[in-house]
């Protein structure tokens, strides 16, 4: 293999598994260290710069970082990255003064259609540059699905209001209660660019299932029903409720039903339990609230008696997995199962819908109804119009919407300045030695053995009696410290200087997880198979040094490295050094908050 080029910032970025997995590339270990140091405000600001909604995300994020976390590879559970983010939000001081203000007007005007996290991120990134920002939303407040869909028992309104407020307070002009029914009309106004962050607002139905029409009064589309609950148009449901679907929307529907009078709430899903789309923790939360999840049941019919819904019939199925990866749900041939119910909530997915975008104004859509975009700049086929969030590539999550927002803001700024959209600004990177003394590092290199801490909950009975009572209590500072110390500091990089190495083997001998090898070079596959413990995790890179004096190379498998610094401590010639790597995605506005 060729020697690894660590000058390419993406190499070390990939080593920081959590940050790499985060769509917005939040510097996770950096903020976790700040939490351990009780610098909650700084930890919050680091987050706010990256993901705009730390308090919201610390409660609701889909957490792509946690399955990626290295700690989950060396022991059972990853670091509770998400709930530590909430700690930063819970214990911070007043940050208002430290946030940027609207910049001096630059004469450019941008329309933002939809007030969800994507649009709000674009606004946050562009406001300090002096753009006039006009935000249109059909609802009375900004927040999008964070407000209309995510139940208050998971996300208190005060938390949302605070963080939406930080953005709106940067001089954003709101056009609330304004449904945009024609993009052509907006184009006709003198906006320099338009950002579409209108989400994926249409819930899927089961229109042709027998009984659907007759039982309509007691059948609700999940996302419509959740927003009716959120906006206090609906405050009760029948005693027996069936929720159809296996995603996170289904989990929010069933838990909300339990709080609105549903005594016997069941989730019934077509697929096997393990294949359900809902995050494992959302499923656990539902089960904890006494909601059974019945899998392998395909809806057959709404049973209507005397003009009223009384039950549903289901076909029992078995999942058969074919070699090409296809899954088939095969009927077991048994009698259909009847489940009695008063109401049914259909939560089987969302779709994009752009009835308000005229077909003849130059915005091309794919066969699946999604806009055709440049994947990097998010520019549509009409150069002035950009998309982001769920409206861009279909339903995702808040953190993806934020990541899109950052990218779109960069694009819009380049566009308005007449520059080339493909010349993206490079990320900000920094690499700094942590050496303090002979064997002393300025980060806490010791690895702790503690198991993952569990977030305490309010009393179940109380929770079920109050739709807006937050279920999770969050970590207290002591628990947060223990949890923060579980982080392995994957951004403390092992940096190797081949010229200094005398091949004494000390690093290979000490490494607790057998990452380091001195061996002959070879093609990657073969080299991976020859290491002390073969490097079988192909998602993780192996580092290959320049050729050493004996003609061998040093090969380090990044997979299990604990970033404990022992290799560097045992190295007599400082061929190894522990260097802190900081990586920050370029935003339209540099220096959004004071650097920590």
């Amino acid at each position: 293999m060729d020697p690894t080029d660590t000058a390419d910032p993406e190499y070390f970025h990939k080593v920081v598994d959590c940050q790499f997995a985060c769509p917005a590339h939040t510097p996770v270990p950096h903020y976790i260290r700040l939490i351990a140091q009780q610098k909650y405000t700084d930890a919050y600001l680091v987050n706010w710069e990256s993901n705009v909604f730390p308090g919201v995300l610390g409660r609701t994020c889909d957490r792509p970082c946690e399955p990626a976390c290295r700690r989950g590879r060396v022991e059972e559970e990853p670091v509770a990255i998400c709930r530590l983010k909430r700690v930063a939000a819970d214990f911070k001081d007043d940050v208002a003064e430290q946030l940027p203000k609207a910049g001096k007007a630059n004469g450019k005007k941008i329309a933002l259609i939809g007030g969800g996290p994507a649009s709000l991120t674009v606004a946050r990134d562009l406001a300090p540059l002096g753009y006039a920002l006009h935000l249109y939303d059909a609802e009375a407040k900004a927040g999008g699905f964070m407000r209309s869909q995510i139940p208050a028992f998971r996300l208190p309104e005060t938390v949302l209001d605070e963080e939406v407020g930080y953005v709106m307070d940067m001089g954003v002009t709101a056009h609330f209660n304004t449904y945009v029914d024609s993009l052509a009309d907006i184009l006709a106004k003198d906006y320099d660019a338009i950002f579409v962050g209108s989400g994926a607002p249409r819930g899927r139905d089961l229109p042709s299932l027998p009984g659907r029409q007759e039982a309509d009064a007691n059948i609700h589309i999940g996302i419509d029903w959740l927003s009716s609950v959120a906006f206090n148009h609906v405050d009760k449901i029948g005693k027996k409720v069936i929720v159809l679907g296996g995603g996170n929307t289904a989990m929010d529907c069933c838990r909300t039903s339990r709080r609105l009078g549903g005594d016997e709430v069941k989730v019934i899903v077509r697929s096997p339990y393990a294949d359900m789309k809902a995050s494992p923790w959302e499923k656990e939360d539902a089960i904890h609230e006494g909601i059974p999840i019945i899998d392998n049941h395909v809806p057959m019919e709404f049973v209507v008696e005397d003009g009223k819904l009384v039950a549903m019939l289901f076909d029992q199925v078995e999942a058969v997995y074919h070699e090409d990866g296809r899954r088939e749900l095969k009927s077991t041939g048994e009698e259909p199962i009847r489940v009695d119910c008063d109401d049914v909530l259909i939560a089987i997915g969302q779709e994009n819908a752009f009835p308000w975008i005229e077909t003849d104004i130059g915005i091309d859509f794919s066969r699946w109804g999604l806009p055709i975009l440049d994947p990097e700049s998010l520019q549509s086929t009409l150069p002035r119009v950009f998309f982001g969030g769920d409206a861009a590539f279909g339903p995702e999550n808040i953190i993806t919407a934020v990541a899109h927002g950052h990218r779109a803001a960069v694009s819009i700024d380049l566009f308005c300045r007449g520059e080339d959209l493909s010349q993206r600004p490079a990320p900000f990177v920094n690499l700094m030695s942590q050496k303090m003394g002979i064997h002393e590092w300025s980060y806490d290199s010791e690895t702790t053995d503690d198991a993952r801490k569990i977030v305490p909950l309010v009393d179940l009975k109380e929770a079920l009696n109050d739709r807006v009572l937050e279920v999770e209590l969050g970590f207290d500072p002591q628990t947060a410290f223990v949890e923060a110390e579980r982080c392995l500091n994957c951004d403390a990089q092992t940096v190797f200087e081949a010229g200094n190495c005398i091949e004494c083997d000390a690093c290979a001998d000490i490494c607790p997880t057998s990452c380091i090898n001195f061996t002959q070079n070879g093609p990657e596959d073969e080299l991976r198979s020859r290491l002390a413990v073969p490097a079988e995790n192909l998602d993780q890179d192996i580092y290959v040094s320049q050729t050493l004096q004996t003609g061998r190379v040093l090969v380090k498998d990044e997979d299990m490295c604990l970033h404990c610094g022992l290799c560097a401590e045992r190295c007599p010639t400082a061929a190894w050094d522990m260097q802190m790597f900081f990586y920050n995605v370029a935003k339209a506005s540099p220096n959004l908050v004071r650097a920590t």
Binding site: R73, V74, E75, I438, H439, E440, S445, E446, T447, D449, I502, E503, C504, D505, A506, A508, D509, I510, P512, T513, S514, C515, V533, P534, E536, Q549, T550, M560, L562, C564, G565, L566, E569, R570, C571, P572, T573
Partner: protein, 349 residues
Amino acid sequence: MSYLKPKFRHPNLPTNALGYTVADYEGSISTLCAGCGHDSISSAIINACFQSSLEPHKIAKLSGIGCSSKMPTYFLGKSHGFNSVHGRMPSVATGASLANRGLTYIGISGDGDTASIGMGQFVHLIRRNVNMTYIVANNGCYGLTKGQDSATADLGSVSKYGAVNPFDGIDLASLAMLQGAGFVGRSFSGDKEQLEPLIRAAMSHQGFAFIDVVSPCVTFNNHQGSTKSYAETRENLDAMPLDFVPMREEITTQYDPGTTQGVTLHDGSVIHLHKASHEYRTNDRTAALNAVQMATQEGRILTGLLFLDPNSQNLNQNLNIASKPLNELGKNELCPGSRVLNSINEGLR
């Protein structure tokens, strides 16, 4: 500075015949200087015991005084250990091996501990053929006391303080061969591919097995002018590679004919010596002594299995010591009573 090694190990660590991973053979974190050759030897011992599937509680580690003699703390944390007085490990080892012949004995010493203060004891250990593996971590100096020349420092080697050594160094491997040791090897701490099988073979040998390991002292003897630095040792190394196949394993590797010779140990294990083109004969003591002498004259450090007599009679066999460890003998066996005493006395009349 870290005083604890993290608990986590690679989840895919291989296991041996006993179901142990190499982590089960580790000791405390080393306090030796970073980069000390001795740590590599510790690691080679850990790997050797792991690969040979030895039960940790059936191993005893013995040492004297010196950085090298501190090593047993850093490997085999679940084995027995005795850190003796300077140069006096041989007498402790002799006693232990007589008392319990069921254990594998690993003696760790330094060139000071062995070739200076312990020389007298060392020679008698060989002469008596005590059943043990004796490793000298040879750095040509007294590391622990800040790097004075030791008795193995080569003639002309320059100390860290600039003094040229005016004396000929003692070659412990030649001495051991001359004195009749049944197993004599030499290696280099930076050559684990050779050192590990050599240690495994030594532990299988049923008698005194001596390994002289060049083990650079990074702090006091790794400068230009030193003959035992990493760079100088690598420069002059003439390594005879080998493999070790324990008796219970099938020999699967195929070697090209004429490149390898196999030597079978008393317990059925086989040592494969490569580079037969050297026409090196491990069973010829005189030839081995000659080869080492030749190499030294030519400035080469000849490493590998230098001499082996697999059938030597060890101390326990020679003295016809009880085959069971003393601590397993019952009261009746240890104190057979007046009838046996009388019969002994009868025999002496």
